[in-house]
Symmetry: C2
Subunit: 597 residues, 2 copies
């Protein structure tokens, strides 16, 4: 329970810092999806625990800006505090702030927690408001936070060639050939981990060692800036040359040594603080995308093989869970369901962690796209409703992400119609072949056509990229209606997750991971084609499918998919799960199709 | 036949202008698709008559930059001249020029013929090359061109409410409510014509009166800058107040009078020369899209009714042509076919002109996307090949654009397969329903899926906007894979023109115009839906369709479309054309469908 005294203690620092206000974002100095406990400044200050948000505290007012999914939670968690919650869904924070900030206010920010792009927005906001934006040298929250957890210090481990498939020297040589700057600031722990084939455990759900690297084109060689305590001899010995192990404290001096040279930074990822150091040392700063992002996305053959193996184990766990669920008659709720699917997964080889917090939403909770069950919202799985289960795991050899929606008891006619329409969209994306050069944005519509015909749709993208024992959300490719110029390439892994959500009633989402693969050329083909290989091998709920709404091709695709699941996952199962899978993967037909169809 | 002396005479002006080179673009001072004869500076200088290109003439070298469709034509037309033709398909002119321009060169340009966006590109090019870009005060070509045609002076005519459907005062009031600047520079004759409900005849194929307008938010009132000789009493009397009739020579003074106020200009359309005048007079210049473009695209009920009527007459002409062609046994070639289709169109009520040069490409010529038949390229329509005919007309009540591909004699198996695949894409776009907010870019893929399955594609967009007795190419909406953030709106008119081109063999394109219309909501619909109404009513060539490649829904769509054509166009025909249409619109079935299907 937060009290106003925390806000007041922050305000008490303003005079000494010559400030009238201060910005506290959720993000840490790595701009990652998940932050370590020591970086939960926003939760410490406001009590708000959502995954995204920013507080702006003035002497007499305070706002908490969150997107639409967190409006209610933010209000609940800040209840009793003099904080106004504002929803940014229709208007971004920086635009709202331009109207809210009083003229002449000096607004402080921590340049380690904001990127140059974000600072640019804030600067224009302050200009419009007649306010002054000022970087602080030390975050006042850190000085006030008495029981602040220590920085994470999980040991760094090697991610061996058996899983990574490509030596770091080979990756480094590829990078060096493609960059024009003398050095590149790699400020994303995920690309550092990819480049050096290392992993860690500093944040939940993603096996990241927090740290940065400077990549020098000549050599190429790498300075790694990471807490020495995290790095054991095995790791040091694995890099006999080419990599210098330094600490975060060494970074300013290393940047200063680049005076007169050019350094590439990603203005959407790097902290403003580092760019300021570069500029102060007369380093030529070149803005450019992190050069690891594109090659990291193109999984090599070893990574794809690991991905397939991880998906087989993950599918076995999911099938065990679904078989278990089908036998329960009572006493299952969202939280026990989430626990149970974790339990089955954790029995699998090479399992390390979940890849994100499990979404187990029953009935109306399934309609909340980013739902996370709590004791207060937890629902019993009564017959007659749908359970939406979106979950995934981190295995040493691959990262998974799957959503299945199942009928508890049996679904109604409307739910079956919508489920079948979502499935039609899912199948359309899975089946498509497309020429080299096609972007994910071009394919987005395929997932929506069947829903559009009924005047319904869903308000999220169709697919995101997925890492290889790294973040479950990874760029640069994606399938979404907003334009994305990144062409799909062999080795890209993407989710395919159309959905439908009826507020207050139920939610449906059907998600598989797909790998982009080369497609054999048909006779007369003039352009090289790509296609998707389905990685996820878990049956769809036949009780929710209306065969009469499916075309011959869709039924054929579904029956082939289920046949493949039985062949590949069946041998991993025994007992009830094995017999459940046989039933769950039986072929289906339309009334007008012959059984031989 | 051009001679080198023209180039040399231009070079002879350089010393007096303190220049080392000069840029001569195809565009005129209105950046329109077609230019008047007096603006054909590029053809005068180089002999090149294509619709797009730019010459850069230095003292000792000269280049002509054209896109891929004009590489061969440009080489032919400049043969014998010391001009190097460069193709810009893979690298834009300004990038090539950065490598070609010698250091220190002073390169002149006419600021009336380039927009601020274009000048920005040229300026960066010159900076990279170490060259200097300089605006001239008078175009040296104009001083040299002895037999230069006079400026066009076609009379301005009123475009009555019977066709325009909306009073200019109502349009002006709508504009005034949406702009923030004190005035808007309307520099596109097409938007001036739309706003004031006037038309003219200064350029081919588009009924434009060349001229500009200043739109003042207060009032609102309009200054029209147009040659007085073009404007008769009927036009003047139609605007008793709110519009001042001025001449182009009055424009600088009108702009100077705006000193201290703000003026919105479209940096992609307005000449740099006008922006310079504004800046010299301390006018605050605001870059923003021409505010007429969005409302002009949303055709009102009267415009749509006119569009439908024009399409019925156009369809009757096209059917007469196709029926005539089906009877010919010899002596038809591309040029006579194009003449004949013009002849049938010109017999229709309210016919004014073609809307673009007819493309009649037989056999290999059909594979040239922007083909225009000449005596040198003209081909006889021998049995066994395909004729691609892309043509359209300007009627007082609407603008048409249609492509049909027909077998001369009968088509081969490959041609029939490709024709059917193109038709499948065409039908997919026509049939789709989509929620309000959907962009044309989202729909592009629908036209390509059937071709992709065979590893083929086409390299142009699927659809462009079309004006109402205005330009046949009109923004802002379009259907293309390059991202376009413009949502489709009721009243938008678009082409739907997938194709397939086999170089050296044949080309296929199937084009109808579509209007975006509201779609009745299905039961349970949650979002308002839009759909396409097909405007073009001309049958597809049944001899080129393989029914076995079509789904039940596609066959049903095709049969319904042909039934509608017979019902709506049949009554406009008699004799052979009427009986031909009955045959051409007969229902088709797959072998496995019952005749009652």
């Amino acid at each position: 329970m937060m009290t106003q005294s925390v806000l007041e203690s922050l305000r008490g620092t303003f005079a000494g810092l010559s400030l009238d206000g201060f910005i506290v974002p959720k993000t840490d100095e790595y701009q990652g999806e998940y932050v370590a406990p020591c970086s939960e400044r926003l939760a410490w200050l406001t009590g708000f625990t959502g995954s995204a948000g920013t507080a702006v505290v003035l002497s007499d007012r305070a706002w908490l800006f969150v997107d639409g999914r967190y409006t209610i939670q933010a209000a609940q968690e800040t209840a009793g505090l003099p904080i106004e919650v504002r929803t940014t869904t229709d208007c971004p924070m920086h635009k709202m702030l331009a109207d809210l900030l009083p003229k002449g206010v000096r607004l402080g920010f921590d340049p380690w927690l904001h990127t140059p792009d974000q600072v640019g927005h804030l600067r224009r906001t302050c200009e419009q408001a007649g306010a002054v934006l000022t970087a602080v040298t030390a975050n006042p929250v850190d000085g006030l936070w008495r029981d602040r957890p220590p920085p994470p210090a999980a040991p760094v481990v090697l991610h061996p060639l058996e899983f990574s498939g490509r030596d770091w020297r080979d990756k480094a040589a590829g990078l060096a050939a493609g960059i024009k700057a003398d050095a590149v600031m790699l400020s994303d722990p995920g690309t550092v981990a990819w480049l050096l084939n290392i992993r860690g455990g500093d944040v939940p759900y993603t096996p990241l060692p927090l740290g940065r690297a400077l990549f020098y084109r000549d050599g190429p060689k790498i300075d790694l800036f990471m807490d020495a305590a995290k790095i054991g001899d095995e790791v040091r010995d694995a890099f006999p040359d080419g990599v210098s192990f330094l600490t975060p404290g060494d970074l300013p001096a290393a940047l200063a040594a680049l005076s007169g040279l050019s350094v590439q930074v990603d203005n959407g990822q790097v902290p403003q603080a580092l760019v300021t150091v570069l500029e102060q040392n007369a380093v030529k700063v070149i803005n450019g995308a992190d050069p690891c992002v594109a090659p990291r996305a193109e999984k090599n053959a070893v990574e794809l093989a690991g991905c397939r193996a991880a998906h087989a184990r993950d599918a076995a766990a999911m099938v065990r869970f679904l078989a278990w669920l089908s036998e329960r008659t009572e006493s299952v709720d969202e939280l026990t369901a989430a626990d149970k699917v974790w339990e089955f997964r954790s029995q699998g080889d090479r399992f390390k962690d979940l890849s994100f917090p499990t979404i187990a939403g029953y009935g109306p909770n399934g309609a909340i796209v980013h739902y996370r069950s709590t004791p207060a919202t937890n629902r019993r799985l009564e017959p007659g409703g749908l359970l939406l289960l979106d979950s995934g795991a981190q295995y040493l050899d691959g990262t998974t992400d799957i959503t299945r929606t199942v009928a508890v008891g049996s679904g109604g006619a409307e739910e079956r119609r919508r489920y079948t329409q979502v499935l039609k969209g899912h199948i359309a994306v899975s089946r498509t072949v497309f020429p080299v050069g096609t972007t994910g944005s071009q394919l987005d519509v395929l997932a929506r056509m069947a829903l559009w015909a009924d005047g319904v749709d869903f308000d999220h993208g169709v697919g995101h990229g997925v890492g290889s024992y790294l973040s479950v959300h990874e760029g640069p490719q994606r399938i979404s209606k907003s334009g994305n110029a990144v062409a799909l390439k062999p080795g890209h892994v993407l989710s395919n997750e159309p959905g439908y959500y009826k507020e207050g009633c139920y939610g449906i989402r059907l998600e598989n991971l797909l790998a982009v693969v080369e497609c054999p050329a048909p006779d007369g083909a003039e352009r090289p084609l790509l296609a998707f290989e389905v990685l996820t091998l878990v049956p769809f709920d036949l009780s929710l499918i209306v065969p009469e709404l499916l075309t011959d091709e869709e039924i054929r695709w579904l029956n082939r998919y289920h046949t493949r699941i039985l062949a590949e996952i069946g041998p991993l199962l025994d007992g009830h799960a094995a017999s459940w899978l046989v039933q769950a993967t039986r072929p289906i037909f339309r009334g007008d199709q012959r059984l031989s169809g």
